[in-house]
C-alpha cells in the first residue's frame, strides 16, 4: 500500500513536472484519487492493510480535507513543491490510519512531520523557522517515548501488531509503563495542557493548508492512537489513569478557553479553540462508555470539518485580502462582506456546538460519557459549552459587528472558489447534524474498545 501510494505520488510529481502549466490540477486529482483505499473492504481480500469504521471515518476526513486544503491555497501559492508536500502529507496521514501495527504507525507518524516541517519552513509566515522547529522538536521528542514503548513491545512480545498485542494480557506494571510512554507522545500531539505551547505558534505561522491539515487531521491522529494503540492493549492502565487524564483534559479545556479570550491573533484563537475541543474529545474517549466513545469520534470528525473552515476563513480569506491576522483591525465585515460574515457565523455556531450541527452531537455525547464516568468532572466539562461560546462568539461578534474601520479597504466578498470550499465543509457538518445516524453506521465496532467487567 505504501508503495502504491508512493508510486502514485511519484508519478504525479513527475507528470506535473512534464506538464508545468497543469501541475495544480494534477495534484488535486491525484489527491482525490487517494480515497481509493477507503472504497474497498480490505478485510475481505485479506490484505494486511485494513480498516474498520473508526479508521474509515478519519480516512474519509483526510481524503476530504487534502483536496480542499489544496484548493484553499490555489491562488496564493505558485510553487509546485508546495502542492507536492501537501499531497505527500495527505498520503502519510492516510497510511497512518490504515496501517495495522505500531511500528508502521510510528513510522508514518514521524514521516508526516517531514512534509509539514518543510512546508512550514519554506512557506510559513515571518516566524516560520521557529514554528517549524517547535513542531518538529516537540513532536519528535515526545514520540521518542512512544518509540521506546514500541521497542518494549517488540522485546517483550516480539510483536507490535495491534490485534496481536491486544490479545495479550500484560501485567499491570508493564501496562502502566507502556501507557505513560505512549501517553507522552499523545499528549503532545493532542495537545494537552502543559505541552501544548507548540500548537498556537505553529498555527499562526504555518501556511493555510498546513494549519488546515494540522487542525483537521493531525490532531485526530492522537485520538486515533489512543483508540488503537492504547485502549485495546493497555486496558487496565487506561482505566487506572483515567482520573489523571481527566484532570489534564479539564485543565486544558478550561485553560485554553480562558486564554483564548485574551488572544489577538485570529489564527491563534482558532488554534486554542481546537485545543479545547480536542480536550473534550479526549474526555469522551476515556469515558469507557459507548456514548463517550461515539461522541469523541464524532466530535473529532466534526471538528475536522469546522476547524479547517475557520482557519480558511481567518487564515485564507481574510488574510489574503488584508494580510494581517490581528483581531483589532477587523470590524463590521457584515456591512460589506455579508456572505463571508454569514459563513463565518454559521461556522462559529457550529464550532460552539449549536444543535443540528455535528459538533453538537459530538459534544453532547462526549459529555454524557464523561458524566457517566465522573459525574462532577462531567459537569465541569459541560462548561465548555459556555466557554467555547464565550471566545467564539466574542470573535464573531467583533468581526461582524460595528462600522467599517478606515484601516480596512473595501474588498470583494467571497469568490466562487471560497464559497465552494466553505460549502463543502458546511454541508457534511449540517447534514450529519440533522441525520447523524449515518455516521453511527461507521462506529458499530466501537464497543470493542470498552472494558466491561462481568
Amino acid at each position: 500500500m505504501t508503495l502504491t501510494l508512493l508510486s502514485v505520488s511519484t508519478m504525479t510529481s513527475m507528470m506535473s513536472r512534464m506538464m508545468k502549466n497543469k501541475y495544480k490540477e494534477m495534484m488535486l486529482v491525484s489527491s482525490m484519487l487517494m480515497m481509493m483505499p477507503t472504497l474497498y473492504e480490505w478485510q475481505e481480500v485479506d490484505t494486511y492493510f485494513r480498516t474498520d469504521g473508526m479508521a474509515d471515518m478519519l480516512m474519509l476526513l483526510t481524503v476530504y480535507l487534502v483536496p480542499l486544503s489544496m484548493m484553499s491555497n490555489w491562488n496564493n501559492m505558485k510553487d509546485m513543491l508546495y502542492y507536492e508536500l501537501m499531497l505527500n502529507l495527505g498520503m502519510m496521514l492516510m497510511m497512518n490510519f490504515m496501517c495495522q501495527d505500531m511500528t508502521s504507525f510510528y513510522m508514518y507518524f514521524e514521516a508526516s512531520l517531514a512534509p509539514l516541517f518543510m512546508m512550514m519552513g519554506l512557506y510559513g509566515a515571518a516566524n516560520r523557522d521557529k514554528a517549524a522547529d517547535y513542531m518538529l522538536m516537540y513532536t519528535l521528542f515526545s514520540s521518542l517515548f512512544m518509540l521506546l514503548a514500541m521497542a518494549l513491545y517488540e522485546v517483550m512480545l516480539d510483536n507490535t501488531d495491534y490485534e496481536a498485542t491486544s490479545m495479550m494480557f500484560l501485567s499491570m506494571e508493564l501496562q502502566s509503563m507502556l501507557f505513560m510512554a505512549m501517553f507522552m507522545g499523545m499528549a503532545v500531539k493532542t495537545p494537552l495542557s502543559p505541552v501544548h505551547t507548540w500548537l498556537p505558534v505553529v498555527h499562526s505561522e504555518s501556511p493555510l493548508a498546513g494549519s488546515m491539515l494540522l487542525a483537521g487531521v493531525m490532531l485526530k491522529l492522537a485520538m486515533y492512537a489512543m483508540m488503537r494503540l492504547m485502549m485495546p492493549t493497555l486496558t487496565l492502565a487506561t482505566l487506572l489513569y483515567t482520573p489523571m487524564m481527566y484532570m489534564l483534559c479539564m485543565m486544558t479545556m478550561m485553560y485554553t478557553s480562558m486564554m483564548t479570550l485574551r488572544q489577538t491573533d485570529l489564527k491563534v484563537m482558532v488554534a486554542y479553540s481546537s485545543m479545547s475541543h480536542m480536550a473534550v474529545c479526549m474526555l469522551g474517549m476515556f469515558s469507557n462508555s459507548m456514548t463517550g466513545l461515539t461522541g469523541s469520534l464524532v466530535l473529532s470528525m466534526a471538528h475536522g470539518f469546522v476547524s479547517p473552515g475557520l482557519f480558511m476563513m481567518v487564515g485564507g480569506m481574510l488574510y489574503d485580502r488584508y494580510h494581517n491576522r490581528l483581531l483589532h483591525y477587523y470590524q463590521g465585515l457584515m456591512t460589506y462582506m455579508p456572505y463571508l460574515s454569514v459563513y463565518f457565523m454559521m461556522l462559529s455556531f457550529c464550532n460552539v456546538g449549536t444543535p443540528l450541527s455535528m459538533n453538537f452531537m459530538g459534544e453532547l455525547l462526549s459529555m454524557t460519557g464523561t458524566m457517566d464516568r465522573a459525574p462532577l468532572l462531567g459537569m465541569l466539562a459541560s462548561f465548555s459549552v459556555l466557554l467555547s461560546a464565550c471566545y467564539q462568539m466574542k470573535l464573531t461578534n467583533r468581526l461582524t459587528g460595528g462600522m467599517k474601520t478606515p484601516y480596512l479597504h473595501l474588498t470583494s466578498d467571497v469568490t466562487y472558489r471560497e464559497t465552494f470550499l466553505l460549502l463543502s465543509l458546511m454541508m457534511p457538518t449540517m447534514y450529519l447534524g440533522f441525520f447523524p445516524n449515518w455516521s453511527m453506521d461507521f462506529l458499530w465496532s466501537l464497543t470493542n474498545l470498552m472494558y466491561t467487567m462481568y
Binding site: 463590521g332 449549536t354 444543535p355 459556555l386 464565550c390 461582524t400 447523524p436
Partner: protein, 552 residues
C-alpha cells in the same frame, strides 16, 4: 377553524417524523407531541408571530435589510414551534438553542451599532449559561434514564432517586432562569431592548422568554417529586417579581420598563409552578403573550412615529391627542397587565396570586404578599408609562409632534391583539381544564375558590388601583426631583451589570490574561522551548566551567 384562533381541546397526538440518532439503547427521535400543553402554547406562538410579522412589514419597511429580518423572524417561528411541539428533551433543546441563536441574530440586526452587538453578545452568553445546564441535564437523562422522551420520563420519574431528581430540577431551573430572565441571569433581557421593536415584542415578551417556563411545566413530573426545588422556585420567582417591579417603577426607558414587566410576569409563572399550579402558569403564559406583545407593539408604534425613535419616556408626553389608537391599544394592554377585572390578564394573573395564598403554606403566604406587591408595582409602572407618554405635557419639540402619526398597517395586527387582550380570558376553563387533567392534581384551585376571603382576592386590585391613582396625583401635583440613593440603585438596575462585569467577566479576562502571559508564554516556555534552548546553548559553557574547576 377557531382552533387556530384560540385553544380548543382535542385528543393528544404523537407523531413520529423520523430518527435523529439511534445509539445503543438510546433512541432519539424527531417527533411531535401535540397535547393540550403544547397546543395551548402554540396558539400565542402562532398568533403573535403572525401579528408581529404583519407589524414588522410596516415597521421595518424602510430598512435596507428587511428581507433578512423577515427571514429571521420566520426562522424563529419555526424553531419556537419545534421547541413547543417536541416530544423529547433533545428536540426541545434544538429549538431552545436555536431560538437563542435567532435571538442573537435579531438583536444584532442593526449590526453597525456597537451597543446592539454588545447586547446580543450578552444575551448569547447568558443564554449559553443556561444551555450549559440544559446540556448537563440532557447528559444526566441519557445516563440515568437511557431515554429522552417525555413519556418515558413521566413514567420513570416517580421511581427515581430524589437526589437525582433534585439535581435535574436544579439544572432545568438554571436553564429556565437564563432563558426566562429570572434574577441572576436576567441582565440580557434588559439590554435586549436594543433590538428592533418587533423582535422585543415577539421574542423578548411573548414567546422566547416563555420557553424557560414552558420547559419547566413540561418537566412537571420531575419538579413534582422535588418539593425543595419547588420552594427554591417560589423564592426565585418571588424575589424576581418584586425586584423587577421595583426596578420598573424608576426606569425611564420605555421598552426596558416593559422588559422588566415581562420579567416580573414570568416570575409570576414561576410562582404558580412553585405551588404546583402548572396549568395556571401555562394559562398566564397563554394570555400574557398577547397583551405583552401588544404593549410592545403600541410602544413601537409610538416610537416609530416620533422622529428620533427614542425610547426614553421623558421625551414623550401628551401623545394621547396625536396617537389615539395607540393610546387605546396600550391602555387595554396595560389594564390587562394590571389585571383589571373583565380583561384577559385578570383571569390569568389573579388566579395565580390567589392560589399562592390558597396553598396554605408559610412560603405560600409570603409569596402571596410578594406577588401582591409586585402586582401593585405593575399597576404603578404601567400607569407611569401611560402617564409619561400619553397624559403628561408634551416634552419634545414642535416639529417632532407635527410628524407624529398613526400607521394603518401597524394598527391592524394591533387590533387583533387588542381583541385577544380583552376577551381571551373568558374561555379559561377550556384551556386549563384539560391541561390540569394531565398534571398533578392539586386541590388548590378548589380551596382557593371556596376558602379564601374576598379580601385576599381583591387586595392586589385595590392596592394597585389606589396606589396608581396616588402616583398620578403625585405626578400631577406634587412632582419633585427625587435624589435618593435608593432611586439610583434601582434606576441603575441594582448595579447588576456592573456586578456581573466586575465580579465575573473582568476577573475571568484578567485571569485569562495572566494565564496567557505568565503560564503560556512564561512558565511553559521557560520549562519548554526557551529553557531547552538555553540549556543546550549553555551546556558547553557549563561543562567548560566544570572542567576549569576540576583542574584548578
Amino acid at each position: 377553524m377557531f382552533n387556530y384562533l384560540y385553544f380548543m381541546y382535542e385528543e393528544a397526538t404523537l407523531i413520529n417524523l423520523g430518527t435523529w440518532l439511534t445509539m445503543g439503547n438510546l433512541d432519539m427521535k424527531y417527533g411531535l407531541l401535540l397535547d393540550s400543553l403544547s397546543l395551548s402554547v402554540m396558539v400565542p406562538v402562532g398568533m403573535v408571530t403572525l401579528c408581529v410579522l404583519f407589524y414588522a412589514m410596516e415597521y421595518m419597511a424602510h430598512d435596507p435589510n428587511r428581507n433578512r429580518f423577515y427571514m429571521m423572524l420566520s426562522v424563529f417561528a419555526m424553531f419556537m414551534t419545534m421547541l413547543v411541539v417536541s416530544e423529547n428533551y433533545l428536540m426541545m433543546f434544538m429549538g431552545w438553542e436555536f431560538v437563542g441563536v435567532v435571538s442573537y441574530l435579531l438583536m444584532s440586526f442593526w449590526n453597525t451599532r456597537v451597543t446592539a452587538m454588545k447586547s446580543a453578545l450578552s444575551a448569547m452568553l447568558l443564554n449559553r449559561m443556561g444551555d450549559t445546564f440544559f446540556v448537563m441535564c440532557l447528559g444526566t437523562l441519557m445516563m440515568n434514564f437511557n431515554a429522552l422522551d417525555f413519556e418515558t420520563m413521566e413514567l420513570m420519574a416517580p421511581h427515581m432517586n430524589t437526589n437525582l431528581l433534585n439535581f435535574m430540577a436544579v439544572m432545568l431551573l438554571v436553564a429556565a432562569t437564563a432563558k426566562s430572565a429570572q434574577l441572576g441571569l436576567h441582565a440580557w433581557l434588559l439590554s435586549a431592548m436594543e433590538g428592533p421593536t418587533p423582535v422585543s415584542s415577539l421574542l423578548h415578551a411573548a414567546t422566547m422568554v416563555c420557553s424557560g417556563v414552558f420547559v419547566l411545566v413540561r418537566s412537571w413530573y420531575m419538579l413534582e417529586y422535588t418539593p425543595s426545588m419547588l420552594m427554591v422556585m417560589l423564592w426565585l420567582g418571588g424575589l424576581t417579581t418584586m425586584v423587577s417591579g421595583l426596578m420598573a417603577v424608576v426606569t425611564n426607558d420605555m421598552k426596558r420598563v416593559m422588559a422588566l414587566s415581562t420579567m416580573s410576569q414570568l416570575s409570576m409563572m414561576m410562582l404558580a409552578m412553585g405551588v404546583s399550579s402548572y396549568e395556571l402558569a401555562m394559562y398566564h403564559l397563554y394570555c400574557h403573550a398577547f397583551f405583552k406583545a401588544l404593549l410592545f407593539m403600541s410602544a413601537g408604534s409610538m416610537m416609530h412615529s416620533v422622529m428620533s425613535e427614542t425610547q426614553d419616556m421623558r421625551k414623550y408626553g401628551g401623545l394621547m391627542d396625536y396617537l389615539p389608537y395607540s393610546y387605546t391599544t396600550m391602555l387595554m394592554a396595560s389594564l390587562s397587565l394590571m389585571a383589571m377585572p373583565g380583561l384577559t390578564g385578570y383571569y390569568s394573573k389573579d388566579m395565580m396570586m390567589e392560589s399562592l395564598y390558597g396553598s396554605y403554606t408559610m412560603t405560600g403566604y409570603m409569596m402571596y404578599y410578594m406577588a401582591t406587591t409586585s402586582a401593585t408595582l405593575t399597576a404603578m409602572y404601567s400607569l407611569r408609562v401611560m402617564y409619561l407618554t400619553f397624559y403628561n405635557n408634551p416634552n419634545n419639540n414642535k416639529y417632532t409632534y407635527g410628524l407624529v402619526h398613526e400607521n394603518v398597517n401597524m394598527a391592524m395586527p394591533m387590533f387583533m391583539l387588542t381583541m385577544y387582550s380583552m376577551f381571551m380570558g373568558y374561555a379559561r376553563d377550556n384551556v386549563t381544564f384539560h391541561m390540569a387533567m394531565g398534571m398533578p392534581y392539586t386541590n388548590s384551585l378548589m380551596e382557593t375558590e371556596y376558602t379564601l376571603t374576598s379580601l385576599y382576592k381583591l387586595l392586589p386590585l385595590m392596592l394597585g388601583l389606589s396606589l396608581s391613582m396616588l402616583l398620578v396625583y403625585m405626578y400631577e401635583y406634587t412632582y419633585k426631583m427625587m435624589k435618593s440613593p435608593m432611586y439610583n440603585y434601582l434606576n441603575q438596575r441594582m448595579y447588576f451589570d456592573q456586578l456581573l462585569n466586575n465580579l465575573v467577566m473582568r476577573p475571568t479576562l484578567v485571569l485569562g490574561g495572566y494565564l496567557n502571559h505568565y503560564v503560556d508564554n512564561g512558565l511553559l516556555k521557560v520549562l519548554g522551548s526557551t529553557g531547552m534552548y538555553k540549556l543546550l546553548n549553555y551546556m558547553p559553557v557549563l561543562l567548560m566551567f566544570n572542567l576549569m574547576m576540576m583542574f584548578m
